[in-house]
């Protein structure tokens, strides 16, 4: 079998923080009534159904609240087909939709100080720690394209976008991370 390739093959930009293509990542879309999806989420990711706008777990096995009837599940790339099968089995007989979207998306990780400032340059979301606490899964747009992101900590965030706009997203995040362009509004930066 051919090797899985992420959109940008693990590209890295080192600015005042690090922008990194996170590599091939397993992702499933699961749609249906959240109250009935628990078994499938458990089977596919070992996590519980997240509360509104929250994410349970992370890239290695996680479930994110995408809309009132949609979840985005994360797992290892190679485990995605099996996880999909497990989710389908758990929901047999119910009304639901499950799809493997691993190859439809790209994932970037941001590591370093000043993540809130960087994203605030590009996105209309409110990045105040009160409005966007760590562990909250926020869907919005970054620059011109739809994106979802969450902060694992003040120094680490993950951005999800469509694979077709991965280069645009990487360029945008890299440009915003250029040394000397720190804002220092939400958090004092290192330099």
């Amino acid at each position: 079998m051919s090797d899985p390739q992420s959109a940008l093959g693990g590209a890295v930009y080192q600015g005042y923080l690090t922008v990194k293509d996170a590599g091939a990542q397993g992702m499933l879309t699961l749609r249906g009534d959240h109250a009935t999806l628990g078994a499938a989420v458990k089977a596919a990711t070992e996590q519980g159904v997240p509360a509104q706008r929250q994410i349970e777990g992370g890239l290695g096995g996680g479930a994110a609240w995408a809309s009132p009837d949609e979840l985005l599940l994360f797992c290892d790339y190679s485990a995605a087909p099996e996880a999909l099968e497990k989710a389908r089995k758990a929901l047999e007989g119910q009304y639901f939709l499950a799809a493997d979207v691993s190859d439809a998306r790209a994932i970037f990780t941001l590591e370093g100080p000043g993540i809130r400032d960087l994203l605030a340059k590009l996105c209309p979301a409110d990045f105040a720690p009160k409005a966007l606490p760590t562990g909250e899964f926020r869907r919005s747009h970054i620059g011109q394209v739809a994106a979802a992101f969450w902060l694992e900590s003040e120094e680490r965030a993950t951005v999800v976008c469509f694979r077709s706009v991965a280069q645009y997203m990487f360029d945008l995040l890299s440009k915003a991370a250029e040394p000397g362009s720190e804002l220092g509004y939400f958090a004092p930066t290192a330099s």
Binding site: S67, D126, R139
Partner: protein, 105 residues
């Protein structure tokens, strides 16, 4: 800047995250209706300078349609409510009438 709180995901979304969907609470006139009614349903829309009830979609977000009451020139927002609603909730109407008694007549 125009901001609506999406009733489905609770996010205070700015205008660039939303897509406007025109007038809310249209009554559909289908087969068997009079020509005038059908024309009205298809083409005739309110365009007030004042309080307006509108459809909006949280396009860059949860993707759901919702309804909103706002003032078209001051951009004051009276409230948002789910799309599965046939008329604006009483509390939103109260808010509107308290400030603009002549609106929505």
């Amino acid at each position: 800047m125009l901001k609506f709180t999406c009733p489905y995901c609770g996010i205070e979304a700015s205008e660039t995250e939303l897509h406007a969907g025109g007038e809310a609470h249209l009554k559909r006139y289908g087969p068997g209706s009079a020509d005038e009614e059908f024309e009205g349903y298809l083409f005739l829309r309110k365009n007030p300078k004042g309080v307006h009830l509108e459809r909006w979609r949280h396009a860059m977000g949860c993707g759901k349609w919702f309804l909103a009451a706002r003032h078209t020139s001051t951009l004051e927002v009276f409230g948002t409510y789910p799309a599965q609603t046939h008329e604006p909730p009483a509390e939103i109407l109260e808010k509107i009438r308290a400030k603009y008694p002549e609106a929505l007549k």
